[in-house]
């Protein structure tokens, strides 16, 4: 999964990478695909902020899951941001 997450980050900055990501996502379940497409579209300004606060993003995603019957879409998005939080802390 790590390889796909790295591609999500690349896809957030580059349209060609986004096409490559779409190819990679073809074999994944629909919910996971949607979550990673959304991540690729939105993650660029989160990581570009002067003070990166992906931890807050993780908290909000968790709260959204608390409020709903969580499904694979929400969990996939949360897993991506959890990976990103760990990556940022390295």
């Amino acid at each position: 999964m790590e390889e796909i997450y790295e591609l999500v980050l690349e896809a957030s900055r580059d349209k060609e990478a986004f096409k490559r990501l779409q190819e990679k996502l073809k074999n994944l379940p629909k919910e996971k695909t949607l979550a990673l497409k959304i991540a690729a579209k939105s993650v660029s300004y989160i990581t570009n902020k002067a003070k990166v606060d992906v931890g807050k993003v993780e908290e909000v995603l968790e709260s959204v899951i608390d409020e709903r019957v969580s499904d694979d879409f929400d969990l996939s998005l949360l897993n991506f941001y959890r990976w990103l939080v760990k990556r940022e802390r390295k």
Binding site: K41, A50, D53, V57, R68, F73
Partner: protein, 210 residues
Amino acid sequence: MPKVKIGTAFDILTDGGFESGFFYEIYGPSGVGKTQLLFTIAVEGVHQGFNRVYFIDTRGTFRPERIAEIAEARGYNRNDVLTKISVKQLRDLPSFILTIDLLSEEGKELLLLIDTLSDLFYEFPDVGIRYKLGILARNLSLTCIERGFLVVATNGVRYKGNLEPLGSEYTDPYVHVRIAMERDERGNLYAYREGKEEKLRYIIGRGGIG
């Protein structure tokens, strides 16, 4: 899928126009033309292939006469434009959330304009209610990708070291493209895409944003 070009700096900031499948957030202080931008997108959206345009008005800002003026200034028939725009004036949070949810289930390739995204969530002293803004943004984001909607929502700002969209901590994971609008000390208007440095000038005229 339809793309809406409005013939201004915003076409550059959006890589060639506001595109279906994307959730845009337009933020800035009052008086910089956020609502005028929505009117302009509504007019051009009708002209460029959207058969259904919904304008969600949470602040009483919708002005059909202004839309008619923009349409005429751009050489379109005002009635053709106005008959394709549906307005929903929603002043309370439950109606707002319910309406967005219902619209999200309506067909495909719909142009949804929201003025404004976060205001109603900040009328409550209960901070917990703001997490529902995250859920709303989640649903909008998903609808754009799954159903090819084009969603453009305006938002106010607050100061946290620099200007940030109201409620951005809740909408961050879900908004696809953010564009800031601002006025400098000389009164010139500028817009820029968050995450990019280029600032482009725009004006507000008879034909809307130009």
